[in-house]
């Protein structure tokens, strides 16, 4: 099956507020997909639904043909915007943790990447800077051989050199059978890395096309198109 993600009439409400409204979306395997939209458009809600942190109000959502649950969590590798590693842990502890719960985790690869950043296995999470914590989390997430990677704002709030490192890590760990969804609003840096783009506004799908199509059809970059589509 070539589709990794299928959303059908997907709705999510928080009380009065509608975050996602009748979303129809199908994503193929082997693509790097940008999930773009202004703040509050529903990007994070969609990602949390796929990760299993939220439950849809209506509609269906499947990953690899399965409804969200233990089976999908095995093949989905999620990088949230925030630090989720418990503060008491050392790098070694979180490596043990990932190794225990994820059979697709490659400890060697993670250690190699950490070493190249001069992060020692005995370092404490508590003493790390925000940027370093984010890099550690990215390394953990990308060291899994998952079928779907969800990266929620991986380059926001991070200095340009770190941003560069993050993009290179995503590129070098890319696996043709897996898909990566990157949610961001820093489009210029990310654009050359993307295959396809999904633009969401007010909880519905605005655009779903490849970066090349957008450039050829609109004679402008995705960043420029975004500014036009979501002009304030």
């Amino acid at each position: 099956m070539n589709e990794i993600l299928v959303c059908s009439d997907l709705c999510k409400n928080y009380g009065q507020k509608t975050a996602l409204s009748h979303l129809e979306l199908t994503l193929e395997r082997g693509k790097i997909i940008g999930l773009l939209g202004p703040n509050g458009s529903g990007k994070t809600t969609l990602i949390k639904l796929i990760a299993g942190l939220l439950v849809p109000t209506y509609g269906s959502l499947t990953v690899g043909g399965n409804r969200i649950g233990v089976e999908t969590k095995k093949i989905v590798s999620y990088l949230p915007e925030r630090t989720y590693i418990p503060e008491w842990m050392k790098v070694k502890d979180i490596l043990d943790f990932f190794e225990d719960f994820y059979s697709d985790f490659s400890r060697d690869r993670a250690v190699e990447m950490l070493t190249s950043l001069n992060i020692a296995v005995g370092d404490k999470i508590k003493t790390m800077s925000k940027g370093t914590k984010e890099k550690v989390q990215l390394i953990l997430v990308m060291s899994r051989e998952a079928e779907l990677y969800l990266l929620d704002e991986p380059i926001a709030g991070v200095d340009p050199a770190a941003r560069d490192y993050i993009l290179r890590t995503i590129i070098t760990n890319y696996n043709e059978n897996a898909s990566i969804i990157i949610s961001t609003h820093l489009i210029t840096d990310i654009e050359p890395v993307l295959d396809d783009v999904v633009m969401i506004q007010n909880g519905t799908l605005r655009i779903h096309a490849s970066v090349d199509e957008i450039r050829e059809k609109n004679q402008m970059s995705v960043d420029a198109l975004f500014r036009e589509v979501f002009r304030c």
């Binding site: 993009l167 590129i171 070098t172 890319y174 050359p192 890395v193 450039r215 402008m220």
Partner: protein
């Protein structure tokens, strides 16, 4: 260093141009192996699929040759390279002429101007 991409053209086309330039300038000499898709993608900071697409197009234009397990190589066919070089230089000149026209010069005037400019460069002690 990440490659620079302008916003209005497909990325794979721009990658193709850059690699063509590297071949023509001799940065990737004839018959030598070019870096793997993954390495090039990392260097350029682009999606490996996009890099692959560019290289596939270059293979189609016979500038790059793929050898099953050994990797991708620059063609040994010097004629092919010269053809592409000629084509790219024509494009360069077309662009020059169109810009000179915008400044109000005719083609003949533009031709004279470029001749004068080159002569000056030759006698300039700085070169």
């Amino acid at each position: 260093m990440a490659w620079y991409f302008s916003g209005d053209k497909a990325v794979y086309l721009q990658i193709m141009e850059e690699i063509q330039l590297r071949i023509i300038s001799g940065f990737y000499p004839l018959g030598t192996r070019i870096p793997s898709v993954r390495d090039l993608a990392e260097e350029a900071r682009v999606n490996p699929n996009t890099m692959q697409k560019a290289l596939t197009e270059l293979e189609r234009s016979e500038l790059v040759v793929s050898q099953r397990t050994a990797g991708k190589f620059v063609t040994c066919d010097e004629k092919r390279v010269t053809e592409i070089r000629e084509r790219m230089s024509s494009e360069c000149m077309e662009e020059f002429l169109s810009r000179m026209k915008k400044l109000g010069f005719t083609e003949k005037e533009a031709s004279e101007k470029i001749g004068q400019h080159c002569a000056k460069n030759e006698t300039d002690p700085r070169n």
